[in-house]
Point group: C2
């Protein structure tokens, strides 16, 4: 938690649940990443937290933006982003939305299929396009599927087809998986990218760009199990080394798409303890119910993948094991059970707790009003 947030929380008794984000920390994170990975252009993954105050702060620093929808593109433009600094990074787009984006000046698009290429050729003729490669994502902290990307053989054909359709076959992208802890995954992916560059050269298609996606892990503090989280510096060093190893003295243009890495640790959620109980006299654990849960912003606790650190303020005494749950009438709205969190024994109803590093993938995941509870209030300072 930054000093600025600490001071803000001390001076303001917020209605809970509330998310507080330190914009200075977001900007610091942006510059720190730029420092460690100077060869890359940084496209902020808007979906991590689309708050206008964040977009304005980053646009002011000259950041680029990765947009998942035409709505995010409009929001970024409204916040001062230049259209030539926005990538329409979703491989699943309505043709009408591509046409609108093209009209707004967006010239960089992701794809992973023949049908999407045809849409792009019709709705954004001449645009720069990059093909997303299917990855297996070993060791990523967040469950992954094969939803995005295509096989490398198909990618090669599609990039040739892109040129035939009058598009600019600009490059290739991949995503090693969110919260990726195995740095070797970047090396494997960059090697595949290089393979595609070389293979396409024979056909006269000259790719220029490698989009490394996101996935740089953030330390949440609650993850006592699992592999250690590498530092930003070591992650960037691994990427730089892999680029050098596979591309030598002919480096491509490089794009990264951090979301979590820019805003994750810039946010804190303040929540109130609504109820503490046991289910039976022999229950070894207390149930602690907060006024926020899976449907109010903590969706990433699904399967207990992301384990946030929780601060309980003045309590200094002995702790005991708890099951942590949200306030809705939904059986699945349990935050941490298997993870076996410990909280102070003297924690009481009405106490406030602070959930750390919650700047990313919280406010935007809120339900519109499940069980009637309004979305979390947001404070950007």
């Amino acid at each position: 938690m930054t000093e600025k947030i600490k001071k803000f929380l001390a001076e303001n008794r917020l209605a809970t649940p509330a998310l507080v984000v330190d914009l200075d920390r977001v900007v610091d994170n942006y510059h720190r990443l730029a420092w460690h990975l100077p060869e890359a252009q940084i496209y902020y993954a808007i979906k991590a937290n689309p708050a206008p105050r964040i977009l304005k702060s980053l646009a002011g620093e000259g950041a680029h933006f990765d947009a998942a929808s035409i709505y995010e593109i409009r929001e970024a433009l409204a916040c001062g982003a230049q259209p030539d600094r926005i990538s329409f990074g979703n491989t699943i787009k309505k043709e009408l939305d591509i046409a609108t984006a093209a009209r707004l000046g967006i010239s960089l698009y992701a794809f992973d299929s023949a049908v999407e290429l045809e849409k792009l050729a019709r709705a954004a003729p001449g645009a720069r396009v990059y093909c997303r490669l299917l990855m297996t994502n070993g060791s990523a902290g967040w469950p992954t599927s094969r939803k995005f990307g295509c096989d490398i053989v198909m990618a090669r054909d599609l990039l040739i087809e892109a040129r035939r359709l009058g598009l600019d076959p600009y490059g290739v992208s991949f995503h090693v998986g969110s919260q990726q802890t195995d740095l070797n995954q970047w090396d494997i992916a960059i090697a595949r990218a290089r393979l595609l560059f070389t293979s396409l050269q024979e056909t006269g298609v000259e790719l220029s760009m490698v989009n490394l996606g996101g996935g740089m892990p953030v330390a949440y503090g609650g993850d006592s199990e699992g592999p250690p989280i590498p530092t930003l510096q070591s992650g960037c060093q691994a990427i730089t080394a892999a680029l050098l190893r596979h591309f030598g003295n002919q480096p491509p243009r490089v794009i990264v798409e951090p979301g979590r890495a820019l805003v994750g640790d810039a946010g804190v959620i303040e929540s109130e303890v609504v109820l503490i109980s046991r289910k039976s006299y022999s229950d070894e654990r207390r149930w602690v119910y907060l006024d926020i849960g899976k449907f109010g912003g903590l969706a990433e606790t699904m399967d207990e993948c992301i384990r946030y650190s929780i601060e309980t303020g003045h309590h200094v005494g002995v702790t005991g094991p708890v099951v942590l749950a949200g306030p809705t009438c939904d059986e699945t709205d349990v935050i941490y059970d298997r993870a076996r969190y410990e909280l102070p024994l003297d924690l009481a109803v009405g106490d406030r707790v602070r959930i750390l590093a919650t700047g990313a993938y919280t406010s935007s995941y809120c339900s519109v009003g499940f069980n009637g509870f309004p979305p979390i209030s947001e404070h950007y300072i």
Copy 2:
């Protein structure tokens, strides 16, 4: 799909994704349940779909309401519900919200812990309170936890304590688990309720009410695996028989809290196919991406528990296996993979599909705007 919805969809080309709910069907479902279970008062579980048009329709029929929060209570009152027909059914309540509810005339409250009883005694003195029992929920279609309810021994003590605190120990509640297919579960639960009635009589505490909760299953059509879904009639007969078996000629007041059973089959979602692709040349299945997914209203497809029927209109040809996914840049936004849906081979981008029986737990689960996509549009006809 009702004739009214069919006609509405034929006459209106809706922007997708869109939810259309037939209010006549909701009212029909209400009366059908009342017919099959005449001994029960029906409390509509607002959380299933809190649309004002639904609340007004049901209030007009004299329905009672089960509210999960003070926000739902306010909404129900605004829609014409009488305060003495509303139950504050969440066992996790802020004391301030209890006090507000009491001021608004709400006199029936759920609890499952000592701390909650103390709040109720302070904030709603004299209120009727019922204790929720912990159930194991075998055979429920939706994953269950031990989030609600307490052990029967603790429940007994708490109901005695309720009287000591000046509250009215009114009864007991349980929930057999959403989409419960094993009718025997109601018998088991009602037997436990009776045990508590008898045991408390010795202490002079006379319980009056058994709240059977919800959980009556709805046939979604897509569930080819799993046990068959019992009819409403057979479910109600099982409940009536269990009440007779355990309470004989001294029947308690009975409450049921249907959500899904009243609005589930009254709704249809219309969605557009955004993309169809394969991941490699050897991919046996197509990926079909819709403009709705887990974050836009289909949250109950989590773990592929609820399997909706999907209609694809005019297509009559051969079908083939698909993976069905949503439009967001989120790996977890896959609707059906393991369930191995089949869709027509001539299905094309831009085609519309209709997802049936989606009136419950869809619109209220929408994210505020994950990936920038606005919540689903809603049409109550």
